[in-house]
Symmetry: C2
Amino acid sequence: VVKRDVTRVVTPGTLTDESLLNDEQVNPCASVVFHGDDTASIAWAELSTGAFQLVTVAAAEVGDELARINPSELLYCETADGAAPPRIAELPLDCPRTGRPGWQFRMGEAVDALRKQYRVATLGGFGLQDDDPALAAAGGLLAYLLETQRNDDGVLAHLRPPKTFARTQHLIVDQASLASLEVEQTLRATDTDGSLLAVLRRGGSSGGCVTAMGKRRLRDWLCYPLADRAAIEDRQRVVQALVDDSRFADELAGALDGVHDVPRIIARLAVGRALPRDLVALGKSAGQAEALENVLAERPSVAPYHQRLAELLSVLVDLADRIQSACKDEGIPAHLRDGGLFRDGHDKQLDEYRTLQRDSNVWLANYQKDLIEETGVSSLKVGYNKVFGYYIELSAINSQKIKDDDQRFALWTRKQTLKNAERFITPQLKEFEGKVLSAEGRAIAREQHLFAELCGVCEKQIDTLHAFADTAADLDVLLCFGRRAARHRYVKPTLTDEPGLNVVGGRHPVLDELLGDRYVPNDVSLGVMSDELTVMSEESKDSSLVTRHSSLPQSGPSLALITGPNMAGKSTYIRMTALIALLAHTGSFVPAKSATVGLCDRIFTRVGAHDELHAGRSTFMVEMTETANICHHATDRSLVILDEIGRGTSTLDGLSLAWAIAEHLADVGCRCLFATHYHELTTLADPAVGGERAARIANLNVSVREWNDEIVFLHRIVAGATDRSYGIHVAKIAGLPDGVVDRAHQLLGELAVNHEGMAPKAAP
Amino acid sequence: VVKRDVTRVVTPGTLTDESLLNDEQVNPCASVVFHGDDTASIAWAELSTGAFQLVTVAAAEVGDELARINPSELLYCETADGAAPPRIAELPLDCPRTGRPGWQFRMGEAVDALRKQYRVATLGGFGLQDDDPALAAAGGLLAYLLETQRNDDGVLAHLRPPKTFARTQHLIVDQASLASLEVEQTLRATDTDGSLLAVLRRGGSSGGCVTAMGKRRLRDWLCYPLADRAAIEDRQRVVQALVDDSRFADELAGALDGVHDVPRIIARLAVGRALPRDLVALGKSAGQAEALENVLAERPSVAPYHQRLAELLSVLVDLADRIQSACKDEGIPAHLRDGGLFRDGHDKQLDEYRTLQRDSNVWLANYQKDLIEETGVSSLKVGYNKVFGYYIELSAINSQKIKDDDQRFALWTRKQTLKNAERFITPQLKEFEGKVLSAEGRAIAREQHLFAELCGVCEKQIDTLHAFADTAADLDVLLCFGRRAARHRYVKPTLTDEPGLNVVGGRHPVLDELLGDRYVPNDVSLGVMSDELTVMSEESKDSSLVTRHSSLPQSGPSLALITGPNMAGKSTYIRMTALIALLAHTGSFVPAKSATVGLCDRIFTRVGAHDELHAGRSTFMVEMTETANICHHATDRSLVILDEIGRGTSTLDGLSLAWAIAEHLADVGCRCLFATHYHELTTLADPAVGGERAARIANLNVSVREWNDEIVFLHRIVAGATDRSYGIHVAKIAGLPDGVVDRAHQLLGELAVNHEGMAPKAAP
């Protein structure tokens, strides 16, 4: 009887097994604690990599923050009635929510648990005050992880000390914006194909991320772009070096290629579920440290990375040596119980047991030969089966001889009777069996012992291994950026502190790759103009957007109203702008001829018609909720992208709202692209209507050519309010009766005349 | 060596095998011939049922007509270069298009081929002139079917004579309208679940269609509603009888229950691919004719059906008798080669062969007994295997005896040597084997002969069987209508020749079932008022729509403008109206308290935002193309449903177009529901703006209540222009900053004031 015990509890947030995890995706378990009505703390840890982070945010932002973390499981402090409190239940997450006992979230218990886990007397060493409110969430989370993992010493060796997530170091992109920019997933299908992340990660023929760690890190960098200019420029420097020196890029790719998913291997080691191949992969990965160090050496752009790596090198080389000298390179057993992980010659005792096993085959062949001679039965066989062990087999007829010759075969014992044969055992064979079976068992036990020993050695170096994995992941993402920039003609964006955004020949990173030469690049100019905008192509000089650059003063309009027919490229243009700004904040180069990006504090987008019903709210309600969020939080350092605000209601209501929102955002001074069907709004740029505000507002439109009674969209954005919309023209082409088209023209004329006086006065 | 030959070519349009066909779906093969630029003919046949139809339509309507036919394969006259001509390639169909030689579509060849197929000297008997242009299409189709089926006599026995499809007898519902009303498929997914067809077909716990033929017929009736009042009322009469007499309905369901898919069985019979179970099913089905006749007898409402059936009865009863007396009821073999379809006693010769087979077991047992006695070997066995036939088996030891006793066993021949046994054959056994095996073979050959004979008998009655299947299919759909009407409180619509549409307490047939009591019924009143609108419920009396009935003159507005916020039920209301009108034309009762429906010539709908790009055309272009089609073809007998026309362009363009279209449709005088966000349009109902036309236009709106700062949609349509739209209110609830909301209010006030004078003058 095998002793059975619950050794761990498997929950969505606590998976560590390779087969259950996608190596491109993170799998965090999060816990949330509300502090009154104002703030809340979130702690999240990834058991599969050991990452552990904390953040305290405004209560209203919990949903957004959790959506970015994208936990597989959410823990909360359960209430008396067992139901999730409304503010937990209302969080817009797909993951299961698990209620946990309240005491685990109490500060005192939490601090004790953390001290015990990390075997420290104070959490100060981790940069945490003992009264940091986020510790409550961390305590609840830790208690859960320990409970599900059930290891004896009450400690999760690979769980790294909690790090306070520095929100101020990151540009904030709310979940609605990440979704509508299709950063992680496309809007249409909730899969990752066609998203910015997928396009970067895959990278096409050359490029993309090399390691699984890099793929996950890329997701982090895209979802949490940097806010700090120096930090971004540090990354840009490496990307530039990789662009300038393709040999560097190739060598780096080569060095990273042998690095396996180190954090996940460590996690499996720590929870005692590592497999032989994990150990071998860890050895190989650590062995790449030297190659990596060689690539980084003497290259100033990556000096910090080189230094970090150099500090780890001796430990890693030692570890790689120990593992690689102990374990085989090939033919690694799937499970330790199959035996055969360790090399011959590595361990004397193991070698002895193995010799015994190998020699046994010779002994058996000799023994069989002897018995055939002795009995005169040439069909005599010595065999083995799992249930009965070793045996001598004789056909029924021959076995009679044995039974008849009592004296000679007195020591033969019948073991098993088959239809046409009988099986016997002899004392000699019995003795041999004992020796062989125990040799095999002992060999496996010995391998297990050696394996545990070696794992123990690795576990002692968890910090070093984590640091190595971190460095490799960063380098992998930078390599991905570098190779993409080189291959797809990306340019280094100039980062400024002035709130401007100036792009020449910008392309949408995903559509650019999809459409190739058919993609029409466009310029963007918002807010403060840049001196550096001198690189202009032939093509760009045609564009009225750019000619304006030279004639205009240093500070241009911050809000651009974009009018023009459907399908002409308005949505692509505004999304492109947001994605270029987003990429610029990750340290990546951007798909453009030249780009100057004033640092943003937030990027907001309200794009695309969600025609589906979210929790029973109408499309218009969703649109207004998202817009309200933008109006409340946009600052003069934000970038705001709005598409067709006010469509879901009556004309006048919609126009009034769009107008008031445009005025509000112009006053805020955020950089804003505002695509609209309400041509009435274009008068805002007229000082007679818009007053002082008019200077802050520009009109853009999509150029359209009529050609043989067809409308051709040039997908080019040009300055100026559109002189006409093509609605009636399209209707005519679509075949509406002439009478109806003529009447619509007439009505349009009358409406337009009446409309002259219709523009509201400038707001106070 | 088996002689192999191509016996048929399988193509998407010529399937007959049960396993490849869905019994709820039709599977026609169509062919199209254009006659110059103006007209075109379509022929379509279903090889799996034998249906064969022709129609000649305007060239522009070919796409619509084909979409309704929904062919699995489309044949066309191929051009010199082998490519499909543009007007074939551009047809909006999913099915494969097959080019065919031009000569097959030539009139002379076509007429000859048809004469040969039906063995007639003239096609006049089928109501076809020899110069009917549609014959060209029919000829091309027939040539293809014959070529793919390759039967020897150059005739497809089960293909019925071509019937000219009488377009004038049907209400025309174009493909876009069928799609947006979700008659066959839902808009979201291209599957049938949730469509009107699926809901009716399934019918829930009781109801729905009983037979496969009925399920296919129901689809025809929904896609081709009737235009002729008398024909509709004939159907209504049967439905009413089924509603009034639930025993009748139950009996009819019982009688239909045993009727299998007769047309498809006939088709398999005719092409020589019928299986034993097909024949048995045909017998059972024909046997139900008597039961069906009994149910129909003495019921005046179904007298025409009874008469039709009575004429067929003797043939069907005879056929059923012949099949049922010949074939077993149970244990029917899957294939004829397994034998055992026919009853014992049915055929003397078959009985003989079977006796021989059966008796052989006795003979064998006796023979074995004799041999055991003779040889003294009790383990002797007489057996059979497929490869070696019959044998006598002896163990190796015993077999030696036989070999030793040359004399006694001289006639024993060794046949096979096994490991521990040997097998022999004797002349007696050999002789027996010949007899038995040939008896088995002969029995199967005899069964095949009998089967072919019986199939031949059935084939002679193909016309009768088709007529029976037709009648059963009609009755099945009527039964489905009747049971639905009874179960879901449907009411018989009064059909009038005046162009009016008056519904009290109407419900959407699909949502009504989905939402149950939560569904809010609504009234409709368009065009001429009905005298019969006297049945009004308590509830309906509240409704302002209905109170207007009594006070208004006999002819009311024909066009209703519906304003009101999103999500309040506008779309459901207008779709409900179209579906009730559609159902009324099929002969079905309708989900309402009372309904008077003036006969329509067409139903048009332009509903829902197709946000996807069809062949590169923008949403707005699609919208305008569909609207142009409506403007061109709507008459004063049409019903037109328009939802949010003009949204995809600028405000003024959209408003001008919507206004001009509304005027046009009001002038046409078609019954029209026009849902719009352009509140400006509501002034059209004001004589000061709309002039004389104002009398033809009504305003409706969706009632909304504000409740604790929330908006509650009552889903109730009431008379009058809406006094306000809730756009700014919703924006406020959504959390837009107070400043912005206040400014929007202020702007709205200014716009509204300016707007007073903005309404265009009445059109000339």
